[in-house]
């Protein structure tokens, strides 16, 4: 089995694997004041501190959630910005896109990059308070948004900016830049366990609770913490991020191989900044679902786009927003590599691809 679907989820990092049993033994409720509780609290706080250090914020500005989807939902609710004043890019993950009115989806260019002049226009005319949500890197194409410029614009116009950094964190250097109010992270896309994410907030940002209850996470997110997943995330962070440097070279080979095998191949976002691990490409004449099943039968796991569509065959809203013609949109698949991807994996994949193209 060759796994090329890291943007859906990453296999558990070996750094974490060994620690699960130990972590499960530390089972106390972090809210309990006895020994068992305090040990769990310490583990949760350690991860919080490591995340804060990695992002250049204070530990108290990290709120753990059950994952990226919940953190995105929380981000769009917790500032109390009215729906008509909330905007997002047209290529956001469903967990943001569905919360924003369609007329407030900001257009992107043919590479999937937010059009800054259009954003500026919105910022100039929108009524305060305004919330803009733009992802750091796209899950389907890997295209990286000019977050620094966007943050600057938002700051100039006094708008809140939320950045979904689920795909970017751990793969490219990121931090809570000036002008970013909120940022979403997820553990399992970077080799941690599923079931934990975080919402990072700018200092002294006023937020309201999203899940009500026992007052955990400074009253912003109630519920007993997922100590196992949080602890495992900490193990990962303490050992440094997994190394994505080799991945870029592998992707270059992959894309060169694709072009050599099929002159009609179209690689999305080819000319702009992308995550080092993601290739989204169309092979006209080869339906995307057929391709995914073909590769699955050959033992290669990849995807036709966002993982969160519950298996429904849907048009990619990302490629649609990029104005992709039908024949390209219907034939696009995503290959996403990880630190454990090998040269041989790429060669094998390319051989299968050549056979498919015929």
């Amino acid at each position: 089995m060759i796994y090329l679907d890291y943007n859906a989820t990453a296999p558990l990092s070996p750094l974490v694997e060994g620690s699960i049993l130990n972590s499960l033994k530390r089972f106390g409720n972090p809210s309990s004041i006895h020994n068992a509780g305090r040990a769990s609290r310490a583990a949760v706080d350690k991860t919080r501190k490591l995340l804060a250090e990695a992002l250049g914020v204070l530990p108290r500005d990290i709120t753990f959630t059950s994952g990226g989807t919940e953190a995105n939902n929380m981000a769009l609710h917790c500032l109390g910005v009215a729906r008509e004043n909330t905007y997002c890019s047209a290529v956001e993950h469903d967990s943001v896109l569905k919360l924003v009115a369609p007329q407030n989806h900001l257009p992107v260019d043919e590479n999937g990059v937010v059009k800054l002049h259009q954003l500026e226009q919105v910022l100039r005319t929108a009524r305060a308070p305004t919330l803009i949500s733009v992802m750091w890197a796209n899950n389907e194409t890997g295209v990286i948004q000019p977050i620094k410029d966007i943050a600057k614009l938002c700051q100039q116009h006094g708008a809140f900016l939320h950045v979904d950094a689920v795909q970017a964190f751990g793969r490219i250097p990121i931090s809570l830049l000036d002008g970013i109010s909120l940022m979403t992270l997820s553990a399992h896309k970077m080799g941690g366990l599923k079931g934990v994410g975080a919402l990072v907030s700018a200092p002294h940002l006023k937020m309201t609770a999203y899940i009500a209850g026992g007052g955990q996470e400074r009253g912003l997110r109630a519920g007993t913490e997922n100590t196992l997943a949080i602890d495992s995330w900490g193990q990962l962070l303490a050992n440094g991020f997994e190394d994505f440097s080799a991945v870029a070279a592998l992707r270059q080979q992959l894309e060169a191989g694709l072009k050599a095998a099929n002159p009609l191949v179209h690689i999305w976002g080819h000319g702009v900044n992308r995550l080092p691990n993601t290739t989204c490409f169309s092979s006209p004449g080869h339906d995307k679902e057929t391709q995914v099943i073909y590769f699955d039968l050959k033992g290669v796991a990849l995807s036709s786009g966002s993982a969160c569509s519950s298996g429904r065959v849907v048009k990619s809203h990302v490629l649609q927003a990029m104005n992709a013609p039908e024949d390209l949109a219907n034939t696009a698949i995503r290959v996403s590599l990880g630190p454990h991807t090998t040269q041989q994996d790429i060669d094998t994949f390319l051989n299968h691809y050549k056979a498919m193209i015929g």
Binding site: E17, A36, G37, A212, C308
Partner: protein, 411 residues
């Protein structure tokens, strides 16, 4: 991997209502899904994902079986707090426009139900908080009288987390069904410990927590009745997982853990109930044979055997805790134990404040042994005796002074 939970008489765990250790069998069932079978269960295409999805569906069936539900009626969440939030806010938001703007709950509910109701109250909903008697149970006539045409839902917990009393679910369910209002129950403490059947009890929504039943933290479930159908607005939007009611990537491992925990509970519930009751009786007999003036809070029979809330008159709870550092237990609900306030649950029962300050919650669970309880009882007896010897209240009571006759200076 199947080693049992270690016995360590210096760290005896008696806080099973705050959280439980993972059952080694649950750990064993989960481990493959942490590592080899890591697929995202929602990417329906490739092989990894299929395996993960199959495991999640199997777990869903295990959860459903424990409460007599159909697997299609079970959705996974991050835990009981989220389940309670979703049940209350989700139904409230959906039915608000239909004129259903009244919710009935009870003063001793878990903080997350009370806090959610408080939020709904700010949002225009009318909330009735039923009182409880000195036994901790609601009065069914109060409930009947509280139901109005605009009542959407009754939310009453199955077992209380602080005092372990069991509310009369079957009777509440019958009243709700007859009146045509939804019945939600926070069953985090009850599921797996007492038999629960959503059809026999006419329950429409039921919240489950993983880490209270020997599965890990970070996973729970919500039962949502399909016939007659309960509609919910999702709390978390996105990829449309869990029938659109709860988006987000699920952890197959955690779902498998919850499923396995439910399957174990279903198999072993009767035997475990018997064992727990025997342990409780042994423990209480030992305490009462050595200590006078101790009281169990809440109804003596309608209760979980494994949850004892005991007041030790004339000694203060925190001072007592300090003398029994070998025991991990709580002097109140885990979520609030950092505060100096006496428990709102004990207050609702009408327990006098001085007794409320002297209470300990002792949780007896699957891995508790008789030896542990013997050591625990000895520690408690020794410390209570020592503290009573230095307690001015005990001295006065023994001298026949009525403590209530004294004008205490509040500070």
């Amino acid at each position: 991997m199947t080693e049992t939970v270690k016995q360590d008489m210096n760290h005896i765990y008696l806080d099973y209502q705050a959280t439980t250790p993972c059952d080694p069998r649950v750990v064993e069932a989960m481990m493959p899904y942490f590592t080899q079978k890591f697929g995202n269960p929602h990417s329906r295409v490739h092989h990894h994902a299929w395996e993960a999805e199959e495991a999640v569906e199997n777990a869903r069936a295990q959860v459903a079986s424990l409460i007599g539900a159909d697997p299609k009626e079970v959705i996974f969440t991050s835990g009981a707090t989220e389940s309670n939030n979703l049940a209350l806010k989700g139904a409230a938001q959906f039915y608000k426009s239909r004129g259903k703007t009244h919710i009935i709950t009870c003063v001793t509910e878990h903080k997350c139900v009370l806090d959610t109701c408080r939020h709904l109250g700010l949002d225009g909903f009318d909330i009735t908080y039923l009182p409880v008697g000195s036994d901790g149970l609601i009065n069914l006539d109060d409930l009947k009288a509280a139901i109005r045409p605009e009542t959407l839902m009754v939310s009453i917990m199955a077992a209380n987390n602080e005092i372990g009393v069991l509310q009369p679910l079957r009777e509440i369910g019958a009243i709700c069904r007859e009146a045509g209002v939804f019945f939600h129950t926070d069953a985090a403490q009850a599921v797996g410990k007492i038999p629960m059947d959503v059809n026999e009890m006419n329950i429409d929504l039921l919240s489950i927590s993983g880490h209270k039943i020997y599965a890990p933290k970070g996973v729970g479930a919500l039962y949502v009745r399909r016939r007659p159908r309960v509609r919910l607005n999702p709390l978390i939007n996105g990829g449309g997982q869990e029938r659109g009611m709860r988006s987000g990537t699920l952890s197959p491992a955690l779902c498998v853990g919850l499923g396995e925990a439910c399957a174990i509970a279903e198999r072993e519930m009767a035997a475990e109930q018997k064992r727990t009751t025997e342990l409780k009786d042994f423990f209480m007999n030992k305490l009462t044979s050595e200590l006078e003036d101790i009281y169990i809070n809440g109804h003596p029979e309608h209760r979980l055997a494994g949850c004892l809330n005991i007041s030790f008159a004339y000694v203060e709870g925190e001072g007592l805790m300090m003398g029994i550092k070998n025991l991990s237990l709580s002097s109140g609900s885990a979520c609030t134990s950092a505060s100096l306030e006496p428990s709102y649950v004990l207050r609702a029962l009408g327990v006098e404040e001085e007794l409320a300050h002297t209470s300990l919650r002792i949780g007896i669970g699957r891995f508790t042994t008789k030896e542990e309880l013997e050591v625990a009882a000895d520690s408690i007896i020794k410390t209570v005796k020592k503290l009573r010897d230095m307690s001015p209240l005990y001295e006065m009571a023994k001298a026949g002074i009525d403590l209530k006759s004294i004008q205490w200076a509040a500070h």
